[in-house]
Symmetry: C2
Amino acid sequence: MDPIEKVLSFIIEIEKLKDVKRKTRPVGLTRYENAAEHSWHVCLAALMLKDHANEEVDIDRVIKMLLIHDLGEIDAGDTIIYASETQAIKDKEAAGLKRLLAILPQDQAEEYLALWYEFELGESAESAYAKAIDRLPPLLHNLHGDGHSWRDNHITKEQIFSVNSRIAQGSESLWSTLELKLEKAMTNGILR
Amino acid sequence: MDPIEKVLSFIIEIEKLKDVKRKTRPVGLTRYENAAEHSWHVCLAALMLKDHANEEVDIDRVIKMLLIHDLGEIDAGDTIIYASETQAIKDKEAAGLKRLLAILPQDQAEEYLALWYEFELGESAESAYAKAIDRLPPLLHNLHGDGHSWRDNHITKEQIFSVNSRIAQGSESLWSTLELKLEKAMTNGILR
């Protein structure tokens, strides 16, 4: 198959990410967010916050990671962060991503699979920062949406602080800001 | 205000792009697309098709353009490409973008406003390519969706070929591929 035709098939197949529902509602909307619009949101958030990463990051690699980071959810579905870090879920996402990337020319498939594994590991400066940014929107959605997803999914204060404190691995200044907001949310009853 | 707080306010304000409805339905979905998920889709399409741009492009600048290209629609709304190129609409989008960018620290606001104007002009290699990619998803949605948006909006064959032939300014090989698909769509009755 012609390389352009392969990419067009990929572009059509990934439309399905627009139909993957996440667990929070965007600020001001009553419906749940989908994983495609979330992917756009974190790319732009990462770009605008890049000077606050702990280490200097190659923001272009961060954005590429975030553009593809949720593609595996087309087959695996979205899982809330507080329950998502099991090997079974990660394996399902990896398999889903591989199925999609196999539609592309082989060199591209290999490049983006490697980038996804780097993101998942979270050890490079870029992936630590990308993972920190990925955690930001659900916090904002809850903080500005009466903690709806925390309540609906029975997430405890301890879980919220423990899982999200890992934002500091990518951006200590971002985590300091968010930590204060979470403490305020305990005072005003949004986080209970 | 603290720079991080400014960016967080911006990140919350741009959530509204998830509520801007476009004029086509994604392949396989019955609902209309929103401008946020579209923005993600064109970023990834641009990345995967970059070797087919007419000139070598700085793909990272292309992606940044596409991440912000529709932000003005939060205030201006989405207009179908066949009717969008009036000065009044462009002015409204520019005003909308400026309102949003004013939430950010000033240096960032200036950088992204300049990038948006470059995109709108479409004269640099990056913006010509970005504009070509921006036109791709609506064509795929129509070609794989019985020409729904062409029909609903009374778009003629002549308009479709004339407006979209400008894709060739960014990627001749992409336009050749799409032109063949449009001709086939005339034969099989999707484009009538």
